[in-house]
Symmetry: C2
Subunit: 322 residues, 2 copies
């Protein structure tokens, strides 16, 4: 298909692939580490260059990612790749450091990755979710993250700050813009180089997205410091992404094949599917560096491993047997 640009969009979008972490963490079927390594390798072959591969969360809480230590030691070596891992607290950071699979100093020296180059921490814009997810107030959680960030930065590792429930949560309903802005400013102040604005339950709509980004800019946050992270629970993820891109955001979180259900709704639909995003960006003539056919084949392969149909519209439309 021919491409047709739209005014005010970036020339290139950086896709931050979360399938191996946010996707697999929410899939009921456990995937073995060999398959994960192959998955990550195939994602790299398709052209993805930023992948969040796992989380050093307690294996008791999320057994799907209990093999984080082994996975880190076996990450495929791919030119230009940035591997990120979620680190919930200092215990997680200690586990990550003990693997030795870190590209310390990668940021400043530009050497190729031989392990994780980035970590991510996971805060919340909703007090209720912070309490339920971390058993801490937002303020307590940020205090817990500070030494994680300090130690990572000291080791040459960059830190992304997720802000979950930026738009709404299942208990409070609409989350106020000011709450999300407040957490974002604290994470940036703490040393995060990017904040990911998360719509964890998929309730956001385009005006809300635009308003949050405008409010952040009003406080001096640049769009280059923002990523957007939408879930497609209510079918809004791609529209929300389009609006975010039109404001200048260039980093989009998505999950190959739409991996990852939603733990807060009876729905098989989780993260924005990377393929659906790329279909739109290809049509708009926005570069991603990703080959959609190769990615669809990978997602179809993974859907079979999980024993379920991919929720990605593009994967369903383009796969004859998936």
């Amino acid at each position: 298909m021919k491409s047709y640009p739209l005014a005010c969009l970036p020339e290139r979008v950086e896709i931050y692939e979360v399938g191996p972490r946010d996707g697999l963490q929410n899939e009921p079927t456990r995937i073995d580490v060999d398959t994960k390594v192959e998955f990550i390798s195939r994602l790299g072959d398709a052209g993805l260059r930023t992948i969040e591969v796992t989380s050093f969360v307690s294996p008791r809480l999320i057994p799907q990612l209990g093999d984080a230590d082994e996975l880190l030691s076996r990450l495929p070596h791919i030119d230009g790749m940035r591997y990120a891992v979620l680190v919930p607290n200092e215990t997680g950071l200690d586990r990550l450091l003990s693997t030795g699979a870190l590209s310390t100093g990668a940021l400043s020296t530009g050497v190729l990755s031989t392990g994780a180059t980035d970590i991510a921490i996971f805060a919340s814009a909703s007090e209720t979710f912070s309490q339920r997810n971390l058993n801490k107030t937002i303020s307590e959680s940020l205090a817990m993250f500070q030494p994680v960030v300090d130690r990572a930065l000291a080791g040459g590792i960059s830190v992304r700050g997720y802000i979950s429930m930026c738009f709404g949560d299942p208990w409070e309903g609409t989350v106020q813009i000011e709450q999300a802005v407040d957490v974002a400013l604290q994470l940036l102040e703490m040393g995060c180089n990017k904040i990911s604005l998360g719509d964890t339950i998929g309730v956001a709509t385009p005006g809300h997205v635009s308003r949050l980004i405008a409010s952040l800019r009003d406080k001096g946050v640049q769009t280059a410091q923002m990523a957007v992270h939408f879930h497609d629970t209510y079918g809004q993820a791609l529209s929300n992404t389009l609006v975010a891109l039109s404001t200048g955001v260039v980093t989009v979180d998505s999950s190959a094949g739409g991996l990852g259900g939603c733990p807060y709704a009876k729905s098989a639909t989780g993260n924005l599917a990377t393929e659906d995003l790329i279909w739109m960006l290809n049509g708009l003539g926005v570069e991603t560096g990703v080959d959609i056919s190769s990615l669809v084949a990978t997602s179809c392969w993974m859907a079979k491993k999980l024993g379920r149909t991919s929720p990605s519209r593009v994967v369903q439309a383009l796969s004859a047997d998936c």
Copy 2:
């Protein structure tokens, strides 16, 4: 959830509900006429006020709609409702007229509907599809439609002109903007009061949509004369709709529960789901007059009749047992 407006959107959107026609026509399961009457009644109860209820196409070609005559005679009487029917040719118009279920003169006198107030004809922007679907060139098909339009207008019935395959088709790939514009201008010249820009195979992306609408405006077509009709085969329908609304279009075709598969792709996903559209519009503070909970319950009920899960993200997320 609180609503957050976005600049350049209309205050109100007219939803042109196509579930009973475009939806059920593409569902393999046959629905009996009693259920169709109840379906239409429930759609009206949810607040929809323009419904395309059936097609007077040959029952041999589309047996799912073979009960058009009986259905027309049993349409529920709902205040302010406009019922439209697809009429493929003069034979179809004769069948429609023979039912006597017409609100002739409804347009000029403003009386309540006791039958169809509108008909729709179905043209194509793609020569190949026109040949395959109608066994006629585009030019021959327009000549066939002219007496249908003339007779309808003489009877006080307004005529909508569908243009299928406006963006791409399975044989030619990208359909040129000029082809769609050319057909649109001829349909308007012929007497259609509105043209529906159809992405029959769901391949369009937002820049293409914006460009087609701009090209039509350059030729003097007003956005009030346009409707958009997107299929969600590649997950693009809602983003495309958002862009169309931002240009001034106020009429959107959609299908309750996303009824209707795609005959040209191995995908259960057909029309844009009315619920997914309404979720976005509610979030944006754009009025539709439709109660989303009531509509979700109806789509869930219909999904059970069809023996399949609704492809609407909203229906899946909000229905505990659907």
